[in-house]
């Protein structure tokens, strides 16, 4: 049986007046049905462009190459009509800012029922009843009344619940969440993360969670891929990654995070230098200019993402981190 999602050799390039920008290069990923995978990276690491490319949502000057197979079928660069049988139906997505993802002119009911009318052929009353049930499932009290409200009448956390309800309308096999809690306060973030975990258990869907916050990944995912400069530099089960990061960047990222649960006397183990310029990526390893372990080979030869153990991969010339 093929995996739910198989990304192979995905490259994303943008043509800009200042030259070509490489947002992602040779990205390989797989996701099994029901599995949760976190993609962590800083701004410009390519994590968001990756999922936008899968769903055919790149900006006009962007071009994706490679292969993305969903349930065995190629979906990369499909025409919109064919893609619409998958996206929003079998693959749903929620974004960071629920306010800009909802149409401010339309009541929640209009934005929800149209999905069921278009994709499932329901009539309006049946669609409305289904939507109210879903809003209740995502924890919106008094849903029968609130479905008639406009987005601005909801708080940030409630809007994200509405977005999640919309994503679930067609019972997707895969939910992609791009920084779903970044715009929320930490106590509301906790509510939304609990909701996602509960829904995943109830509905058995797979989750692709994109975030800059390793703490969020630690609680929400089974596996994690670390991206840097448009490439996956490490992929591992979460316990393994947090216990013993194998790539210097993963280790640097973990060391950069102040911990609430540990006293860390002295300085944080910050990563020196600046994130890479995607218009002028260095030859060899993209992380080399900031890497404290770099040696000559890192300058000339790009490290492949290779298996260390059956379930762990890293892109680094070093066998072991010192």
């Amino acid at each position: 049986m093929p995996p739910l999602l198989a990304v192979q050799g995905l490259g994303i390039r943008f043509a800009t007046p200042d030259g070509e920008v490489v947002a992602a290069d040779q990205v390989d990923l797989t996701l099994a049905a029901g599995e949760s995978l976190g993609i962590v990276g800083e701004s410009g690491s390519g994590k968001t462009q990756l999922v936008l490319a899968m769903l055919g949502l790149l900006a006009k000057n962007g071009r994706a190459t490679g292969s993305v197979r969903f349930q065995g079928e190629e979906i990369l660069n499909l025409p919109a009509a064919a893609l619409n049988r998958v996206r929003g139906v079998k693959i749903a997505m929620i974004f960071q800012d629920p306010m800009t993802s909802l149409n401010p002119y339309l009541k929640i009911r209009r934005q929800m029922t149209e999905v069921l009318v278009a994709h499932r052929g329901l009539d309006e009353p049946a669609a409305r009843a289904r939507c109210i049930a879903l809003l209740e499932q995502v924890g919106i009290p008094d849903a029968a009344r609130r479905i008639e409200l406009y987005p601005h009448e909801f708080s940030g956390g409630m809007r994200q619940r509405v977005m999640i309800a919309i994503a679930l309308l067609c019972q997707p096999d895969l939910l992609i969440a791009d920084e779903p809690t970044t715009a929320l306060d930490v106590t509301v973030q906790a509510q939304i993360l609990d909701l996602l975990a509960r829904l995943r258990a109830e509905l058995g869907m797979a989750l692709l969670l994109i975030t800059h916050d390793l703490g969020v990944i630690a609680g929400a995912c089974e596996r994690v891929a670390v991206m840097y400069g448009g490439r996956i530099v490490e992929e591992a089960p979460i316990d393994a990654l947090f216990a013993a990061p194998a790539h210097p960047y993963s280790r640097g990222l973990l060391g950069s995070m102040p911990r609430l649960d540990l006293a860390q006397p002295g300085e944080l183990a910050a990563i020196p230098g600046q994130p890479p310029n995607l218009q002028a990526l260095p030859a060899g390893c993209v992380y080399r200019p900031r890497c404290t372990f770099a040696f000559e080979r890192c300058r000339s030869e790009r490290p492949d993402l290779r298996a260390m153990l059956p379930d762990r991969r890293k892109a680094c010339h070093l066998e072991h981190l010192p």
Partner: protein, 335 residues
């Protein structure tokens, strides 16, 4: 940490929001009755969620916003009583670093001009060469290559812009810096660089810092003491270690338990105190204790009376009617 630099007494900032009808106004209590002290060389973290008044508090202390009530006493002198020119003299001791590093810098000035500006204002007699020497010295200290002196802010990354903002705040050798979410706009790896820089500057200059942030993990790392705000009111104030090991206020307990820990085993094990509901509107705050609408321990008294700030023990104070009855369990998040 002996000398008391700053004393904030019962400080309130209320804004009058026009209701748009016949010139009517509604009060918004951004900060309401907050008190604390700060010693030389000390860092006080001010933590809270959006709308809790943490930025307003920082600005009111520097009198960038006029407080509605209460006093700010700087080295024994009430700031409110000072005339404008006396206040200007004091300003060199009180500096601020802002959240959005690019927005805080004038795009038409070079980095050198931006950093030199406070010096030119406060020490007008200084010659060009002396100014340049001071600017280059502080650039080197904040991790900026002196040859970047003639560049413009747009040529810099967010982390470098924040270094410029810090250099500008440091050039007058102030005694206190208010850092208003100084690392929130930065990536994790850059955030750590800036946190390290601020802590290094504090140690070498004996600076006092008010570190305002929504990120409790960062606040824990930099602060000696932490003040927790909720809807403009002080909930709890304690030494960093006490606040994390034995938080007494139900809000502090929930806040700590909500922070994701980058340790999967711990995340799976921990019991989150999930608060119901969301922040009430600051325009229409709950009566009595402002936290009661989300508090798992609320009783009728919490709706009737505003809780007084009481000492749990020396250096640890709390505003809660029920703190003595509630168990002082260590937070499950950190167990």
């Amino acid at each position: 940490m002996s000398e008391q630099l700053l004393r904030v007494e019962d400080l309130s900032v209320h804004f009058a929001l026009p209701t748009g009808f016949l010139g009517g106004h509604r009060p918004l209590k951004a900060v309401d009755g907050v008190s604390f002290t700060l010693a030389a060389g000390e860092t006080l973290g001010i933590v809270g969620e959006s709308g809790c008044g943490k930025s307003t508090l920082g600005r009111a202390i520097l009198r960038l916003i006029e407080p509605t009530a209460g006093r700010v006493v700087w080295q024994g002198q009430p700031l409110g009583a000072l005339a404008a020119d006396a206040l200007r003299g004091l300003r060199r001791d009180l500096q601020i670093v802002f959240q959005d590093p690019l927005a805080a810098l004038d795009p038409r000035m070079t980095i050198g001009e931006i950093i030199a500006e406070p010096l030119v204002t406060h020490e007008p007699a200084l010659g060009r060469a002396a100014i340049r020497a001071r600017v280059e010295a502080i650039m080197a200290e904040t991790g900026l290559l002196p040859q970047l002196i003639n560049r413009y802010p747009h040529e810099f990354s967010g982390g470098q812009c924040q270094r410029v903002g810090i250099a500008r705040a440091m050039i007058l050798q102030p005694k206190l810096i208010v850092c208003d979410e100084p690392v929130s706009a930065l990536d994790v790896s850059i955030q750590a660089q800036i946190v390290n820089l601020l802590m290094r500057l504090q140690a070498s200059h004996g600076l006092a810092m008010l570190f305002i942030s929504h990120d409790l993990a960062v606040v824990r790392h930099v602060s000696h003491r932490i003040l927790v705000l909720y809807l403009g009111r002080l909930m709890e104030l304690a030494e960093c270690h006490d606040l994390l090991a034995a938080p007494r206020h139900p809000y502090t307990q929930a806040l700590i338990s909500a922070v994701p820990i980058p340790d999967p085993a711990r995340e799976r094990r921990k019991r989150r105190i999930v608060l119901t509901g969301e922040l009430p509107s600051p325009l229409d705050p709950p009566s009595g204790c402002v936290f009661r609408t989300r508090c798992p321990h609320a009783r009728p008294i919490c709706a009737e009376q505003i809780p007084r700030i009481e000492p749990v023990r020396f250096g640890h104070s709390i505003a809660c009617h029920r703190w003595q009855e509630l168990p002082a369990t260590p937070p499950a998040a950190l167990a």
